[in-house]
């Protein structure tokens, strides 16, 4: 019987700012490693903070989380959600990445802010909901980008 699949979502602080080149290096390194260890997931970088989802065999995910905690590029590593999964949500990505913008206007009245909820200290439901919202956002952005590239290629 195969090892159970798990998904871990965490946030951390970059110990030094990441420009495009450093991010590209980080992604290339993590994609090589993840491919070798049957890991998939997504990464966001925003305002000096990382949000990452890792999924795969339990031992491989735990091993990588241990390495991330020791990685001097990360500090304040905090696991937000750890769960068993029946199937992967990021099958296509050894480490998916999409740039995310920081809003310059206030959210519409009555709307919550996903990033405020993500690290809510006293509301686990809000944190879990925020993780889901970021997953939805990532998939939507990735597919929109793919559709655009296919459209341009067809011209």
């Amino acid at each position: 019987m195969s090892e159970p699949l798990v998904s871990v979502s965490y946030v951390s602080t970059a110990t030094a700012p990441f420009d495009d080149e450093r991010l590209a290096d980080l992604l290339a390194q993590s994609r090589r490693s993840n491919h070798a260890h049957d890991l998939t997931g997504m990464l966001l970088y925003r305002r000096g903070r990382f949000f990452q989802v890792l999924e795969g065999p339990q031992d491989a995910v735990e091993h990588l989380m241990d390495a991330i905690r020791r990685d001097d590029r990360h500090s304040d590593v905090r696991i937000l959600l750890s769960e068993r999964i029946d199937e992967r949500r990021f099958t296509e990505w050894t480490m998916g990445y999409e740039p995310i913008g920081v809003p310059t206007t206030a959210a519409p009245e009555g709307f919550r802010d996903t990033f405020d909820d993500l690290e809510s200290d006293d509301d686990d439901d809000a944190t879990i909901r925020a993780v889901r919202e970021l997953t939805v956002w990532f998939r939507a952005r990735t597919l929109a980008g793919t559709a655009l590239r296919e459209k341009e290629d067809a011209r």
């Binding site: 871990v8 696991i79 310059t104 802010d113 944190t127 909901r129 919202e133 970021l134 939805v136 956002w137």
Partner: protein, 93 residues
């Protein structure tokens, strides 16, 4: 006091990024809205299928909440291959 059986009751709306909004109710993902470059709003249901294109955010919210667009709005049918995220197990660690 809002009646709990109204379509919009209990729906939590969040902004992930400028122009990108996600709706859920009691932890269940209802759909999302993505503002387009022309200023319109494209609404998607809980399976990430396009529900319709709307001129206002509130109309798009109603479409996501009700699961169908108002009759006077333009409907764009398009299948998008995005499985809805779902909570399977566990809470916050």
């Amino acid at each position: 006091m809002m009646s709990s059986d109204r379509p919009g009751a209990g729906v939590v709306w969040s902004r992930v990024e400028e122009g990108f909004h996600v709706g859920s109710r009691k932890g269940v993902f209802l759909g999302y809205i993505d503002r387009q470059t022309d200023g319109g709003y494209l609404a998607f249901d809980g399976t990430s299928r396009v529900v319709g294109s709307f001129r206002t955010l509130t109309a798009a919210m109603a479409a996501v909440t009700n699961g169908q667009p108002p009759h006077d709005e333009v409907i764009t049918l398009e299948q998008v291959r995005v499985p809805a995220p779902r909570r399977i197990d566990g809470g916050a660690a």
